[in-house]
């Protein structure tokens, strides 16, 4: 998953860090992370003067296409930053080198220290193909003062209470208490991941949206819109989310970690005590959320896998991750990094630590990004046309089965 902030395009800037004896290790970084990673490499260079690293920076908007083109053109880098929803896609291309052996003997990387939901996004067919670099999940940002005015001193603990709170907020004059932009799939996806049933079935070759779990999530989502607790709008119509949040046009917003910094910067000083973050409520208690973020991956065609892994290990050290957090605000995937004072002292980050213990990966199929978009399109249409969750789920399954037709064909031949 890619945060909107990182979509800010930036020019590719090759950066040679050290005079190379042989061709330098090529690292592809994206957006802001690609800019910042060069600053982290000083320590690595001191420890490994023999390994030159060349950071090539890609804008997020072009990254996906670039990776595919590089694959087709035999020009993949040694190591790259990958959005963890892309790992499955790159795995389908058989472009990535498995990391299991290297991780098993590593002193730095320990699986148990990582949030397990995040770790799992990098495992495809039992093979570890990526190493989490930073994490991203969605949870609630809310106006504590408005909620108090509506008679609640705590964030919602489950769907039922959440709905009660939204109704109470509406009664005290908050026009649309919750924002669910109809062109963002993450909120609905998070609600769907809270269910016990998986989203795809038959070895991930068919949609399972008609399953009770997704229908429950979609039903809840559509109810919120139908009752007017959330407006049927796209995120482009809400011109400035921060301004509207400050004005109290809405009181709940499901969004990601980059907004901690944005809200601190953009909300006026008198409102700084008035907002807070909380884990996402689930159907009957605390709920799961999406497991997003970015990983490192080593490409199969690289001749320097050992050196590339060394770089990965270096960037995965808790103290380097702390440095990285200070530079970008990206949250670390290792539990031990969360002991870092900057994170423990930030009350807004604490909710993320809690949520990260409860995140679930999306199905590891190359078609996932498209399926998630289709899911949102169908949900938005259902909200506009007033069709039921059952009809919508049925139509969605038909559509998803069509998208997965090629995957089924390959699966029958043992190739996917």
């Amino acid at each position: 998953m890619i945060s909107r902030r990182t979509l800010l395009a930036s020019a590719a800037l090759p950066l040679v860090a050290c005079a190379p004896r042989e061709a330098p290790l090529r690292f592809w970084g994206m957006g802001r992370e690609g800019e910042v990673v060069a600053e982290l490499l000083g320590g690595f260079q001191r420890e490994n003067p023999g390994i030159a690293v060349q950071v090539e920076q890609l804008p997020w908007t072009a990254a996906h296409e670039k990776l595919l083109t590089a694959f087709a053109g035999d020009a993949t880098p040694d190591i790259a930053q990958l959005g963890n929803t892309w790992v499955a896609e790159m795995a389908a291309l058989q472009a990535l080198s498995p990391l299991d052996e290297q991780v098993a003997t590593s002193h730095v990387v320990q699986e148990t220290d990582y949030f397990s939901g995040i770790w799992k996004t990098n495992v495809v067919d039992g093979q570890l193909l990526g190493l989490p670099w930073y994490v991203d999940t969605r949870l609630l940002f809310y106006r504590r003062d408005l909620l108090a005015k509506a008679g609640y001193d705590h964030p919602p603990r489950g769907w039922a209470e959440w709905k009660d709170q939204l109704r109470a907020l509406k009664r005290i004059g908050v026009p649309n208490p919750l924002i669910l932009p109809n062109n963002e799939f993450e909120p609905l996806l998070a609600l769907a991941l809270q269910q016990d049933e998986p989203l795809l079935k038959d070895a991930n070759t068919r949609g399972n949206f008609e399953g009770a779990g997704f229908q429950r999530a979609l039903g809840f989502y559509l109810d919120l819109l139908k009752e007017g607790l959330a407006p049927v709008q796209s995120n482009q119509q809400i011109a400035n989310v921060h301004q509207e949040f400050g004005r109290g046009t809405f009181a709940f917003y499901i969004t990601g970690p980059w907004n901690i910094g944005e809200f601190k910067r953009r909300l006026p000083a008198e409102l700084q005590g008035a907002w807070a973050t909380a884990p996402l409520p689930g159907p009957t208690g605390p709920g799961a959320s999406t497991a997003g973020g970015c990983s490192f991956a080593i490409f199969k065609r690289s001749h320097r896998k050992a050196e590339a892994f060394k770089l990965m290990e270096y960037l995965s050290r808790p103290e380097v991750q702390g440095q990285f957090y200070a530079l970008t605000g990206d949250l670390p995937p290792r539990k031990s990094s969360w002991a870092w004072p900057a994170l423990t002292s930030d009350p807004h980050a604490r909710a993320f630590a809690k949520q990260l213990e409860n995140v679930r990966p999306t199905p590891p199929v190359a078609e996932w990004e498209r399926i998630a978009n289709e899911m949102q399109t169908f949900a938005a249409r259902a909200a506009a046309e007033g069709s039921s969750a059952a009809e919508t789920a049925k139509a969605l399954d038909e559509d998803v089965d069509r998208i997965l037709a090629k995957r089924r064909w390959l699966h029958e031949r043992g190739r996917a």
Binding site: E65, L68, F71, A72, E89, A92, L93, Q94, N182, N183, Q233, S234, Q236, Q237, A239, A366, E367, R370, T377, A380, R381, A384, R402, K406, R407, L410, R415, A416
Partner: protein
């Protein structure tokens, strides 16, 4: 002697032919072949995963509601957008040509300016203008007592907004062509008409319009073919939304090909669109020829 001349001719034409063949004919042919396969992400891994599927991409496409939706959206855009755009061009050209117009060079530049500005930059400004709550357009509506309209967020209004935007962005180009054509209309025709007592409107109907007929046909065909390829406006302003109300055929192709990497299906969309444009422009020619005969 004649053979020598032929050879010389060929020598002059050949470079151009080779360039056209290499950069146009061959890619188009390959594209056609591509549209008969299911080339996708998996085929990138190994050509074993590539299947020749015949017309399956085309059949699949016409069975998908989104294709018809995209076609409908595009037709809506063309049917409303082309007359509006040409009407604006013609109106602006006639007004600029009028002896009553002042500051002609300035006005001409101002009206032509949208054509040469960057689409992305002006689209951002239009999004501000048409913002539901803070846009100038809605402010104007409210000041005369009308309800604000959710221009880009309401599926009923999004396409009209895109049409307005495209017409405003493009009318300057055709305006210049019309102005050139207007200058070629002999002034003695107008003088004769005035002597016969024809008023402005009669002059426009019986002299200007007939004199501009060939230009209008050409402008109409070019604009129609161009408007069928609607892409950048929805890509920048709405990303196909809300509720797919601004997904055009080309936008669909872009999504299939460059977002989801289904190059086979995307090529099929491209060829369907090509066929459609050929049909429509031929139809236009036929209608025009019948009118001329």
């Amino acid at each position: 002697m004649i053979r020598r001349e032929k050879l010389t001719q060929m020598a002059f034409v050949l470079p151009a032919l080779i360039v056209i063949g290499l950069f146009f004919a061959v890619p188009v042919l390959l594209g056609l072949l591509l549209s008969l396969t299911d080339f996708d992400l998996y085929a990138l891994v190994s050509l074993k995963n590539l299947r020749f599927v015949g017309l399956a991409n085309y059949i699949d496409l016409v069975q998908q509601p989104i294709f018809w939706k995209a076609l409908g959206n595009t037709a809506y855009f063309v049917v409303l957008g082309v007359p509006l755009s040409i009407g604006l061009s013609l109106g602006a050209a006639v007004l600029l040509q009028s002896p009553l117009a002042h500051l002609k060079p300035l006005m001409r530049t101002a009206l032509f300016a949208p054509v040469v500005t960057t689409l992305v930059a002006v689209a951002v400004i239009w999004r501000y203008l048409f913002h539901t709550r803070y846009g100038l357009v809605n402010e104007a509506l409210q000041s005369i007592g009308l309800n604000p309209i959710d221009w880009l967020g309401d599926p009923h209004w999004s396409m009209p907004t895109i049409i307005l935007f495209a017409a405003w962005k493009n009318f300057g180009g055709n305006m210049i062509i019309f102005m050139a054509a207007l200058q070629a209309v002999p002034t003695d025709l107008y003088e004769a008409a005035r002597l016969d007592g024809a008023k402005t409107w009669a002059q426009f109907r019986h002299i200007t319009l007939p004199a501009l007929a060939p230009t209008t046909l050409m402008v109409g065909i070019l604009t129609t073919a161009g408007y069928f390829q609607l892409f950048a406006e929805p890509y920048v302003m709405t990303q196909g939304g809300p509720l797919q109300s601004t997904v055009s055929v080309l936008y669909l192709m872009y999504e299939q090909g460059f977002r989801w990497w289904n190059l086979g299906a995307a090529s099929a969309v491209a060829f369907l669109l090509f066929g459609l444009i050929v049909l429509v422009t031929r139809g236009l020619m036929k209608v025009a020829n019948r009118g001329a005969a």
